[in-house]
């Protein structure tokens, strides 16, 4: 994040301004990706008029960064009418799409919209792998044709490469393809539960060895791997923990579904209101659930506040924690990442292990009890992965 964006974000937070919103225009999609977390049926999407009115409300509320996503956004016949309206309202617009429906006329219209960027899902450079994930034959060919049309027109294209077991080995190929067509490249190594809480797709996630490879690949990190994977600095001081916020969800960012439901984030499906019944700004400012999420600092997280990773090597997602049943708890997927990244077990993993080990004894444990930080660092250090810093601690 640039210093200026950080400064504006801090200012927006002080002024209670929702700086960024992801608005999903539809959950319908022309692809059927194996890892998708959505239900693709249309259960009553907002109309064109409702969305335009919402955009006006969001502009008045101060929203600047607007991500339009789905489903596949171009499944809506009014897609361009909506984006054109958003641009008239001076939003900084990013599109997330599979680009399958973008041909020359659509590319021309997108170019004319002067968008921030278009993020396009690419799973592999090989059609047999990409198309097996999207379950749409010919999808890679059409997607890459669209990418070329956009790049030729000067549109900033970003490849979003979600990694899972079936396409992990192909990420260097996707990187090379991105470079060849003139697109930027990002990866996401996390498959999240379905929006209805179904966790069956989590089995698609890459394993620890693969995750370790990601965390040590300088071409992905843009940083020194040794520095990135260095030992955690220990839990933050209590006075610091009181100021540390989990992420931007509900502070400067929120999510709106195609049905008008508002949540702190697309990965944090806690319903805080619906724009069909309440004005957007009223939800943002006055929803009790939004306020509750907003009030949480690291010191309110009984497990994570005492974790060795709490000072910086943890990227805990409160939404994933919420989907595991406790928005004040750890997110096991993020604990896993911190562990693989540094070789140091997390407080959440310790708690989980202790809960499992006592389950057979029919004991009841206070789940808010904090583990001692010294235990986290010394007693529970493990080395299932090769890592010289972890070795130094053992």
């Amino acid at each position: 994040m640039s210093a200026l964006i950080q400064e504006m974000s801090d200012k927006a937070q002080r002024l209670d301004i929702p700086l960024g919103v992801q608005l999903d225009l539809t959950y319908r999609c022309d692809e059927r990706c194996v890892h998708c977390y959505l239900d693709h049926d249309d259960r009553g999407e907002m109309t064109t008029a409702e969305i335009k009115d919402l955009l006006e409300q969001m502009a008045d509320a101060g929203v600047f960064f607007l991500t339009l996503s789905g489903g596949e956004i171009m499944m809506r016949s009014d897609f361009f009418e909506i984006v054109e309206h958003a641009r008239r309202l001076s939003f900084c617009v990013r599109l997330k799409t599979n680009a399958v429906m973008i041909r020359q006329p659509e590319a021309d219209r997108i170019q004319a919209l002067a968008l921030d960027s278009v993020q396009i899902s690419v799973y592999s450079h090989r059609a047999e792998v990409h198309d097996a994930i999207t379950r749409l034959p010919g999808s890679l060919k059409r997607t890459i044709e669209a990418v070329r049309l956009l790049v030729e027109r000067g549109v900033k294209v970003i490849f979003a490469n979600v990694l899972m077991r079936d396409n992990f080995a192909d990420y260097p190929g996707v990187q090379a393809l991105a470079a060849e067509v003139g697109a930027e490249y990002t990866i996401d190594p996390t498959i999240t539960p379905k929006i209805d809480g179904d966790r069956s797709i989590l089995g698609l996630n890459i394993d620890r060895v693969e995750l370790q490879q990601i965390f040590r690949d300088p071409s992905l990190l843009g940083a020194d791997p040794e520095e990135f994977c260095a030992l955690p600095g220990g839990p933050p001081a209590p006075q610091d923990a009181q100021k540390m916020l989990p992420c931007s969800a509900s502070h400067t960012f929120c999510y709106v579904s195609p049905y008008g439901d508002v949540c702190p984030c697309v990965q944090f499906p806690l319903l805080v209101g619906n724009v069909r019944t309440t004005r957007f700004l009223d939800i943002w400012k006055h929803s009790p659930q939004m306020k509750e999420v907003r009030s949480i600092t690291l010191s309110d997280l009984p497990v994570c506040s005492s974790c060795a990773h709490g000072g910086g090597s943890c990227s805990r997602c409160p939404g994933l924690a919420y989907m595991e049943g406790n928005m004040h708890g750890p997110s096991s997927q993020d604990c896993e990442k911190s562990y693989v990244r540094t070789g140091v077990i997390t407080a959440g993993m310790i708690i989980h292990r202790e809960e499992r080990s006592i389950a057979g004894m029919v004991q009841i444990r206070n789940s808010t009890e904090r583990p001692q930080s010294s235990q986290v660092l010394v007693l529970y250090l493990e080395r299932p992965i090769t890592h010289q810093w972890a070795a130094a601690w053992s």
Binding site: M8, R87, A114
Partner: protein
Amino acid sequence: MSPVYIARTKEVAARSIGNEMMIMSARDSTLFSLNETATAIWQAADGVTPLAEIVERSVCANFEVDPATALRDAEELVEGLSRHGILKVSNLPIEETP
């Protein structure tokens, strides 16, 4: 000296955050934050009002500033913003494109 006209381009995203204006250039994704004075100039950039008049009306009338200094600062601002495609600059009034 011929008058200078300035107009906001459509290739930007912009929003007020408190008393500042946040502007993103779609041309190169550069992000700007304009202070109150610069915001006043940017908002008045209608393509038909000469820059000197904008400075007089929007800056000198509202801020404690010497007119010559204000105009010089405004010219620097305009030059910088035009380089990033945020403002159009011309010696003739700028027609609004549909």
